[in-house]
Amino acid sequence: MTYIKKPIFRHPSLPTNEIGLTYRDYEGVVSTLCAGCGHDSITASIIDACYELSLPAHKIAKLSGIGCSSKTPNYFLNNAHGFNSVHGRMPSVATGANLANRDLVYIGVSGDGDTASIGLGQYCHAIRRQLNLTYICENNGTYGLTKGQFSATNDKDSKNKKGLDNPFGAIDLAIMAIELGAGFVARSFSGDKEQLVPLLKSALQYNGFSFIDVISPCVTFNNHGYSTKSYDYIREHRSLFGELDFIPEEETINTSYAEGETVTIKLHNGNDISFKKLGADHDPTDPHKVLNTLRNNRSDGKVTTGLLYVDPDKSDLHDTLNTSSKPLNSLSMNDLCPGGEELEEINNQFR
């Protein structure tokens, strides 16, 4: 219902963040998704994370593919440029955008159809390249816009709304991301803002490819009793993989951790994330242990959420390509065009 104008009303006493903006300044247009859709909660968490980090909205680029999830970038950060591209191809568009300007924050929103089926190749290769992108998969296990077909993340035992079994196994995008070398991999639940917002804040501050698989129930097609992506199922089967706190740089000095309980990880930009261990084996920097735990939990029917894996030392695509430290789109034609004299030299190479 985009024809309904959202009123621009700000209560004078609304709190502001460090750059003087209110929460309302990070909103987008009115959502047209179904009432109760998990995606709208994710949208709210993205707004929270950007507000709390005091990110200037216009220095964020939000990109998506096609599907319910991919509509959502319209519903947050009105002052950011958005790009709703083609089905499954957000990663390539985001790669090009990032190559053009390395200084912006890139948020990619995708869904399980967009990522795990039509866009699986682009997803894998964006990870391989360590693209500096926060990739959020709003995962509901179903094709909503085409009315309830199974997606590739739907579990084999799950049924659709008509009671038919899903005959194929699920692709676990988080396990895949770790295998492919993503530097930051998390899973969360749209209904758990307390977990999701710190994860988003950490992911947005991470320099490299950060992936968050957010289980986001589809209230219309996949929230019934036989679904493994319903609100009830996820609440009953979650296994928390540690608790995460995002600590801005200026606060790190005053934060104390109980010895042995937390792992503090310094990000490139000086901020810390603190990870509270729930068990002795939970070390988010050890990919082998993490993958083991994830696989074991999965066979036990548990959905592991939290910060699953982080490697604070990854380099990003620009480092690999040795591109200029200035954004390429800021270079003038004087910087870029070699000129007439140089062309004489070039001509001489072909004589």
Binding site: A61, C124, S325
Partner: protein
């Protein structure tokens, strides 16, 4: 010595096995002839294979500058026993067939001269290393040939010294091989041949370059900063050349590069990256061939409808499907003009040689930003991968790159309102911002769904139709800015015309000379861009019959003319070639002559040329 000696008018062809190292020897030969100042054209006819299949290299040498491929070969250097039979058939009567007679053969042509040089034996005697024995065979035949036709040895030696600069061992070894070939010919064979070469001054201010390298330089001069691509013959060398030059010419003071070259996982991704980069304000391009364009279809429609600049070089090869990856064709005209589903139309630039690849290479980026749409530069394998001798490239330092209606942060503060897709100026071209332009103004949502003039989603049919109409208006605006056709009205009284485009121009120029000499007056127009300039329509209307020469089966350019312009379709007569080889002049002359002789109406429309072209 015979009295029939001619200079600088002959065709040499090398028949080799691919992967044997012959390519560099053959290129040395072409480059030496070019440096002797003789006009040449070189064609590499190679297989889609790494090693073991037949491959050929033809050099047409013509001081009178008739440089199209010829059907008959004057000097065949046959180094592949697999193809002796067909190679000897191609030799013109009175020509020469040179082969490796380490194994003696009998050939049943008594109208040509057969020369045997025991190249394998000579190499076996000189070199112990198996690899050297193979590689230097190529330089040995080059040495022999140089004496037979008179290639200046000093020129070859200088070329080798440049090629192997700092590698004295390699240089010495090559000189030795060259000498072995020359000595054998000097001691055993009556030389030189009747058809010889000699220095002249035909290449002043000319360079020898292929179209892919030229297009890459165009992109570099056009300010491209992002190149995303997926390897495919025959376009691969374009981005590789861009990367090579960028690494040198775009290095900043910190040693970093003011460009990003990225090999994508497929063509969908490569065009997606180029679109993302252009959306974000970088000049970006991709380079591909037919199969890649097919894969890019959906994205091309997005860039068209969301009005995102994009430059795509399509180095056409033989289709359909995988077709003939190493042969040339002009068969992607309709695919590119109408790429993607729904109502889409794209701007095409049609270079005819490496010089235009350079020129259109940089102008394409201006057009892409000016018209905020994909620009497809349709080169082909013949232009892209063969070395051409063309006028040296020129650059005017006063050239101002046109970034179109790109709104800056200062501009947007002055503007009263910003609507991304509004036709403010009446030319159909809207204003554009890029991410991070301004904290408060200018942001919008880019989408492939139908949108209002501010970029909002709409299902309102009236607004949708208005959007399509404005984009059509923009497309028509482009006509006057795109490269105009080249027109040659050498027969003002004749009512016969011919239209061509791209790489067929060399053969057509040669053919026009023959036709005019035969009293057939034909006016000529070469199309350089789509949408068509008004002068293309005027040219067709001014003639009673117009031949359309193209290298595809389905008369794609003729169809595009008919579908886009209000024309009398009966007057357009196709001349089509689709065997994958660069055209010969005879093909054109024979086709036109036959059609004219068999149709009295066309014959009546003829009037001899005023001047010989």
């Amino acid at each position: 010595m015979s009295s029939n000696i001619t200079y600088n008018e002959l065709v040499i062809k090398f028949a080799n096995v691919n992967g044997s190292g012959s390519a560099s020897a053959n290129t040395f030969c072409a480059k030496s002839l070019y440096r002797m100042g003789i006009p040449i054209s070189a064609k590499n006819i190679f297989p889609s294979n790494i090693q073991g299949l037949p491959t050929w290299y033809e050099i047409t040498i013509s001081e009178s500058e008739k440089l199209a491929r010829k059907e008959k070969i004057d000097v065949m250097v046959a180094m592949n026993a697999q193809t002796y039979a067909s190679d000897i058939d191609e030799v013109a009567s009175g020509g020469t067939f040179i082969y490796d007679n380490s194994i003696q053969r009998k050939f049943d042509r008594d109208d040509i001269r057969v020369i045997g040089i025991p190249i394998a034996k000579l190499c076996a005697a000189e070199y112990t290393d198996q690899r050297q024995r193979q590689l230097f065979k190529n330089i040995v035949y080059l040495g022999g040939l140089s004496l037979l036709i008179g290639i200046d040895i000093d020129v070859i030696e200088k070329l080798l010294s440049e090629q192997f600069k700092g590698k004295q061992n390699l240089f010495d070894a090559n000189i030795k091989a060259l000498t072995i070939g020359r000595k054998y010919v000097a001691d055993n064979i009556e030389y030189p041949l009747d058809k010889q070469v000699r220095k002249c001054n035909g290449n002043a201010n000319k360079i020898m370059i292929n179209g892919n390298e030229a297009a890459a330089l165009g992109a570099l001069y056009g300010g491209a900063t992002v190149a995303s691509w997926y390897p495919i013959t025959p376009s691969t060398s374009l981005v590789e050349a861009f990367e090579k030059h960028a690494n040198k010419l775009r290095k900043d003071k910190d040693g970093n590069i003011n460009a990003a070259v990225i090999q994508a996982e497929d063509e969908l991704s490569s065009v997606g990256m180029a679109i993302g980069a252009n959306w974000n304000g970088s000049r970006a391009f991709t380079s591909t061939s037919g199969p890649g364009v097919s894969l890019m279809g959906e994205f091309l429609g997005l860039a068209y409808f969301a009005e995102i600049p994009l430059v795509l070089f399509n180095i056409q090869r033989g289709g359909p499907s995988t077709g003939m990856p190493t042969r040339t064709q002009q068969s992607d005209i309709l695919t590119c003009a109408y790429a993607s589903h729904g109502d889409t139309k794209h701007i095409l630039l049609l270079p005819s040689d490496p010089n235009e690849c350079f020129e259109f290479g940089y102008k394409a980026f201006d057009f892409a930003e000016k018209f905020q749409t994909p620009i497809m530069v349709l080169s082909d394998l013949d232009i892209g991968m063969n070395d051409w001798v063309v006028d040296q490239f020129k650059w005017d330092d006063n050239y101002s790159h046109d970034r179109g209606k790109l709104v800056t942060s200062e501009d947007i503060e002055k503007l009263k309102s910003f609507a991304r897709y509004r036709d403010v100026d009446g030319d159909g071209i809207p204003y554009r911002t890029i991410p991070a332009t301004h904290p408060d103004y200018g942001s919008y949502f880019t989408r492939g769904t139908s949108h209002t003039d501010t970029g909002g989603y709409t299902e309102n049919g009236v607004i949708h139709a208005e959007m399509l109409d404005r984009i059509t208006k923009k497309f028509h605006t482009a006509k006057e800015y795109l490269p105009h056709p080249i027109i040659n009205l050498n027969s003002p009284k004749s009512k016969i015309g011919i239209i061509n485009f791209g790489s067929t121009n060399v053969a057509l120029n040669d053919a026009m000379q023959d036709l005019t000499r035969n009293g057939i007056g034909i006016n000529h127009l070469r199309i350089r861009a789509f949408p068509f300039s008004k002068s293309v329509v005027d040219f067709i209307n001014d003639h009673e019959f117009v031949f359309v020469l193209e290298q595809n089966r389905d008369a794609q350019m003729k169809k595009l003319l008919i579908s886009e312009e209000d024309l009398d379709t009966n007057k357009l007569i196709s001349i089509l070639n689709y065997d994958g080889m660069p055209l010969t002049a005879n093909f054109i002359v024979n086709n036109i002559t036959e059609i004219i002789n068999n149709n009295k109406n066309i014959k009546a429309a003829n009037s001899p040329p005023i001047k010989i072209v």
